[in-house]
Symmetry: C2
Subunit: 473 residues, 2 copies
């Protein structure tokens, strides 16, 4: 394909893209595809000869698009959002055109320096105290692993990385998370070689927030048994119910016992840009690392995970390699982000964040977040006022946790009824919600955070619950 | 930004993109930026109010682009390439517009099934034997870590992940790489908790390929001392000199001692799509895992790293999490790629690979690779024929390793002279080459693999060496 053809097809696809963005409601959020259906329509072998690009576009629109789940549909209430926005998409277009691989300063000077700038900007928006330095990772899961590996190395004075399991105390390390912490924390403990059985799950209070008292008890118990408390992972906005672990008391405990504090604000951390929500990061000065995902609630294409640390030297000592073939003359003077995480290669992710922050401005972003939180409050209100629905957790952000609670139905039937109700609501195709379990109770999660969601969509979802509730039992 | 504005700006940027692609030679490959220069031109704080998008574009073109290193310049001879191509860029545009987060089948049915299809296609193109199943990871570094974690879990029957350092044999594990293996192997051993000191560096032969005899000796030595040989990492196309570790004898050794064999074909593995180069993967049937990066030499935007394994169950047991909030009704019937690696979230990377393979066809890709290899042969010939240059390694692919060897200059001065010469050549701005050291000798790496590189660019580079050679000593 020459550049004349590229120009032609790019213009053609831009119109497709704009049409796609303008017409989300003409599509189901989740397709009706059955497993294997799409694959069965595709050739099992690669073409020997070049194919006409027009045919490829045709297959894309007729076979692929109808089989996609549309995360940016205004009826998206599932999981946490993975938002994009027009300026973010435009930035991705430019990033992919330049196609730089941003491992080192010299392989991408502007990308490296722009990453420093936007991470500083974000830090100011979150009102982080002095001393935090940021980089962009792909996901919060990876950031959590990076944090735990750093904690492991600090606790063993880098002996674990050098000697492996024979390092002093390598078999004594303990990690503390809550019963509500994201599964990536367990996974990180497993992958980092600390062992799943060394992950202790701290009980939570009635609001599903980690109990500092219970944390202290566990630490004391472990110390008495000769363990080495290594890392506490606190969450601001847990996945199941957006609970807020209290950073201030947890941070003081970490300080007292010299334990690494990692804060997972993947979803809700973004709310810290609102003065009225900044309290969620109170105590962040005690943290050693923090992750917040602009790709969740800041309208920036996945992947874009903002990771902050206090001790950059420790991060570098944990992740840096320095082979001859990567050395550049500028190394002593510059930041080489390749040494700040697991992968060597890196995309130019800073550009999309820069485009988004400038296009909306801090006030524009705040306005949108407030709108989402307001709509969640409204939905929460409807749930609380309905005689046959029940709110199952507080609603500090955009997530409403609830269930259908029809009169006269035994508790043991409620999980099945709610599972069935959710399936019926989702079947409609104009909304998508997911579930969790809180205290064993099947919980419907209505997460309002998609850029284009308006009250009519939220109302539409609520009406679907009203329409289908009687069919579910 | 509403969709009308998006459409307008997207068309405007498409013209910028096509212009950019059409005019690489109007730009230096590596900018003359000094550290901190770009950052100094950017505001230190985020804007409170929205900014006009036209201003953002203006800043992008005037501040960012001139500060970028252009990896897709035809004068790119540095590192290994990180190619893109018009169809790949078009796919990235569509991927970012849909903005799907492809963690589970249900969150992106078409993306999951297309990933299965293209990974099957690639497997056929590489002529992989039956039994390999593929997924797309971000980078080879990550793939190497995934492989080593899998090897660790297999060798300890999953006890390391469960118990950490106290697992039986956790402190006995040994990893074998060559002196030429990529630094990400050391990093993986460190991160996976096996310990840098348990990485043994197998000597290489005169062509920088791992010596099977020396590998056997090391394994026997370790066994005699009670160690548990866990993983061998063989490379097809090492970073410094594109050496080819012999997979067949290494594979037989791994089979005999029941050691995990990971094959790193990040750069050169792509050459296996050429019948005349397929021999490089002879013995691949012994491998447990394999990584080849289409983002290096298959004209597909970074990131796109093809990772194959034989034992999917083991991969899943190593990486799978199954929290309630991620469960979908289809889980028993489908592949959820979130469980095939470290991050939970995933971009829709299969689309660009599908676009690229179809646009060029297998033959089109082969033709381009052959062209690169031919040009490298030509350059290698020039080096060999020049009385004052020396070839430092074989040239099986697109990489030529050489140095300037002026008559009457002592060996101890050659490193400085070559470093100086390379700096002068790069200073010109129309080419970019990097270096390595082979046997302590400063080695200039001329890697020919950029999609738009033609013989005139290769000639231009050679002429620059001729022009500047006398100024370097």
């Amino acid at each position: 394909m020459d550049f004349t053809a590229f120009r032609k097809y790019a213009h053609e696809l831009v119109d497709w893209m704009a049409d796609y963005l303008e017409s989300p409601e003409s599509r189901r959020v989740v397709p009706e595809a059955k497993p294997g259906e799409i694959r069965a329509q595709l050739p099992t072998s690669p073409p020997e000869q070049a194919e006409a690009f027009a045919d490829i576009i045709q297959d894309f629109t007729s076979l692929i698009v109808p089989g996609m789940t549309h995360w940016n549909h205004p009826g998206w209430f599932a999981y946490f959002p993975a938002n994009h926005s027009p300026p973010s998409i435009l930035a991705e277009m430019l990033m992919s055109t330049i196609g730089a691989q941003c491992m080192s300063w010299q392989t991408s000077p502007a990308a490296t320096e722009l990453e420093q700038v936007v991470m500083d900007w974000l830090g100011q928006m979150y009102q982080l105290p002095e001393g935090f330095t940021g980089t962009i990772q792909d996901t919060a899961s990876t950031s959590t692993l990076v944090a735990l590996l750093s904690a492991r190395e600090r606790a063993t004075q880098h002996a674990f990385g050098q000697q492996g399991a024979s390092a002093p105390n390598a078999d004594k390390m303990r990690v503390y998370i809550s019963t509500q912490t994201h599964a990536s924390a367990d996974k990180a403990a497993k992958l980092a070689g600390l062992g799943l059985q060394n992950v202790r799950k701290v009980p939570v209070d009635d609001n599903y927030a980690m109990s500092p008292k219970a944390l202290t008890d566990m630490i004391e118990e472990d110390l008495a048994q000769g363990y080495l408390p290594t890392c506490v992972m606190a969450t601001v906005g847990t996945t199941s119910s957006s609970a807020i672990d209290p950073l201030e008391p947890i941070g003081k405990i970490c300080k007292k016992y010299n334990i690494w504090l990692h804060v997972d604000g993947a979803y809700a951390g973004t709310a810290a840009i609102l003065p009225e929500k900044r309290y969620i990061l109170d105590g962040i000065e005690y943290a050693d690392s923090l992750v917040i995902n602009p790709h969740k609630w800041m309208f920036t294409n996945f992947d874009c995970s903002a990771y902050y640390v206090k001790d950059v030297d420790l991060l570098l000592r944990t992740f840096k390699t320095n082979p001859e073939y990567l050395k550049t003359t500028y190394d002593p003077q510059v930041v080489n982000f390749r040494d700040w995480g697991i992968p060597l290669g890196r995309r130019f992710r800073a550009l999309k964040l820069w485009f988004v922050i400038r296009t909306y401005g801090v006030e524009g972003l705040q306005e949108r977040l407030r709108h989402h939180i307001d709509m969640a409050q409204t939905f929460s209100q409807w749930v609380q006022e309905a005689p046959d629905f029940e709110l199952l957790a507080p609603t500090p952000f955009g997530l409403v946790c609830f269930r259908y609670l029809p009169e006269g139905v035994a508790e043991e039937q409620l999980n099945t009824i709610n599972e069935r109700l959710l399936a019926k609501v989702n079947q409609n195709g104009q909304v998508h919600l997911t579930h969790t379990k809180l205290n064993g109770q099947y919980t419907i999660r209505m997460c309002i955070g998609q850029l284009y969601t308006e009250l009519e969509h939220v109302k539409g979802a609520w009406e679907l619950f009203q329409t289908h509730k009687n069919e579910s039992h």
